[in-house]
C-alpha cells in the first residue's frame, strides 16, 4: 500500500501518461497495456542491470533505448502472432512503450546502478503499481463511459474465453469514453489519490 501510494508511476509521479490516457477505454486494454509495460520493464531492467558495468554514462540513453526498443519489438511480434485483435486495438501505443518515461526512467535511475535481483524486484514493484493504476482508470472509464465491462474479449484468441458485461449501470456518461474524459478521469483519480495519500501520511 505504501509503495503504491508513494511510487505509483501514474498518480504520484505522472509518468507513462500517454498510454494511461489513450488505451484505457476498456478495462481489458488497460490491464493488457499494464502487463505489456511490466513485461518490457522487467526484461529491460534485467538487461540493463547485466550490462551496466560495460556502458559508459555518455552513451547510456541511446543504448538503453535500443534495448527497450528490442523488447518492444519482441512483444509486438508476440502479440501480433497470438492476439492480433489486441495488437490492433493497442496500435501505435504499443510501440510507444519504447519512449515510455517509466521504462527508460527505471533503467536510468535504478537498473543501471543495481544488481539484477534488485532490478527485477523494482520492475515488479513499479510495473504492478502501473498495472493497478491502469486497471483503475480503465474500470472507471469503461464502466461509466460505455456502460460495459470487458474482462476478456481481444485476448480470447489466446484464452478461448470471453467475459464481457453489458449495460451494467442504469446510465452512462459517454463523455468519459472520449479523450476529454480520459483527462478528466485521470485528473479526478489523481486528486482522490492525493487526498488519500495526504490522509495516509498524516496518520
Amino acid at each position: 500500500m505504501k509503495s503504491f501510494l508513494k511510487d505509483n508511476p501514474i498518480f504520484a509521479l505522472s509518468l507513462g501518461l500517454c498510454s494511461a490516457l489513450a488505451v484505457t477505454t476498456t478495462f481489458e486494454k488497460a490491464y493488457m497495456m499494464g502487463l505489456s509495460v511490466l513485461f518490457v520493464l522487467l526484461f529491460s531492467n534485467i538487461f540493463v542491470s547485466l550490462i551496466r558495468k560495460h556502458v559508459s554514462t555518455s552513451i547510456q540513453i541511446p543504448v538503453f533505448i535500443l534495448i527497450i526498443g528490442t523488447f518492444v519489438t519482441i512483444l509486438s511480434l508476440l502479440l501480433e502472432r497470438f492476439m492480433p485483435s489486441l495488437y490492433d486495438s493497442l496500435g501505435v501505443y504499443l510501440s510507444l512503450i519504447t519512449v515510455n518515461c517509466i521504462v527508460l526512467g527505471r533503467a536510468l535511475a535504478f537498473a543501471s546502478k543495481n544488481s539484477v535481483g534488485k532490478s527485477i524486484a523494482d520492475a515488479f514493484k513499479i510495473g504492478i503499481g502501473y498495472t493497478i493504476a491502469m486497471m483503475l482508470i480503465g474500470l472507471v472509464r469503461e464502466l461509466f463511459g460505455s456502460n460495459t465491462l470487458t474482462f476478456m474479449n481481444d485476448i480470447s484468441a489466446l484464452t478461448g474465453y470471453r467475459l464481457v458485461f453489458k449495460n451494467v449501470l442504469p446510465f452512462s456518461l459517454s463523455i468519459l469514453a472520449t479523450p476529454a474524459g480520459a483527462f478528466i478521469t485521470i485528473g479526478i483519480l489523481t486528486a482522490i489519490f492525493n487526498f488519500i495519500r495526504s490522509k495516509y501520511e498524516s496518520n
Partner: protein, 186 residues
C-alpha cells in the same frame, strides 16, 4: 482540398496532444512557463519534421523492400536519437544563440512520444509523401498551439485551488476541458 482537410483536422479535431495523447510528458512537465513552451514546441517541430522525412524514406525504400517492417520501432527511435544528437552538435557550433534558447529542450525530445508517435502514425496510415509532410506539420502546429495555450493557462492558475487538485490533477482537468472544446471543432 484533401490536404487542407488533413491539415485542419491535424491541428484541431485530431490534435495529437488532446486526442492522441502524444507528447503528454512535456505537456504536463515543462509547460509551466510560456517561454519554455515556445522553445519546446519549436524544438519538437524541427526534430519531428526532419525525422519524419527520414523515417518515411527509410520505411518505404528500405524496410518494406527488405521485408523487415517489424523493425520499424527500433529503427525509428534510432533515427530520432541520432537526429537529436546531430542537431545538437550543429546548433551548438553554428547557431550559438539558438543553442542558448533551444539547447535545454533538445535532449528531452528523444524520449518525447510525440516524435516517435508521429513518425509511426505517418507510416501506419499509409500517407503519400505530401500527405505525410502536411500531417507532420499540422500535428506539430497543433502541438505548439496547445502547448502555448496550456502553459499560459497554467501560469495563471490560482493558488486557491483545492489542495488535492493542486499540480497535476488540475492540469489534467484543464487539459480535459480543452479536449472537450477542441472536440467540438469538427
Amino acid at each position: 482540398m484533401n490536404l487542407i482537410n488533413l491539415f485542419v483536422s491535424g491541428v484541431l479535431s485530431e490534435n495529437i496532444v488532446l486526442t492522441k495523447f502524444l507528447g503528454i510528458c512535456p505537456f504536463m512537465g515543462t509547460s509551466n512557463k510560456t517561454k519554455d513552451a515556445i522553445g519546446m514546441s519549436l524544438a519538437v517541430t524541427i526534430v519531428t519534421t526532419l525525422s519524419s522525412i527520414i523515417t518515411y524514406l527509410l520505411y518505404n525504400y528500405v524496410l518494406v523492400p527488405t521485408n523487415s517492417v517489424y523493425l520499424k520501432t527500433i529503427m525509428f527511435i534510432f533515427v530520432i536519437a541520432c537526429m537529436v544528437q546531430i542537431l545538437l552538435i550543429i546548433i551548438k557550433n553554428k547557431f550559438k544563440k539558438l543553442y542558448q534558447s533551444l539547447g535545454i529542450y533538445l535532449p528531452l525530445i528523444t524520449t518525447n512520444c510525440a516524435v516517435l508517435g508521429i513518425t509511426l502514425l505517418n507510416v501506419n496510415s499509409g500517407y503519400s509523401f505530401m500527405q505525410m509532410l502536411v500531417y507532420t506539420l499540422s500535428s506539430c502546429l497543433g502541438f505548439s498551439i496547445v502547448l502555448c495555450i496550456f502553459s499560459s493557462i497554467r501560469e495563471n492558475l490560482s493558488e486557491d485551488i483545492p489542495k488535492s487538485f493542486k499540480g497535476y490533477p488540475i492540469a489534467f482537468i484543464t487539459a480535459g476541458i480543452m479536449a472537450l472544446i477542441f472536440g467540438r471543432l469538427i
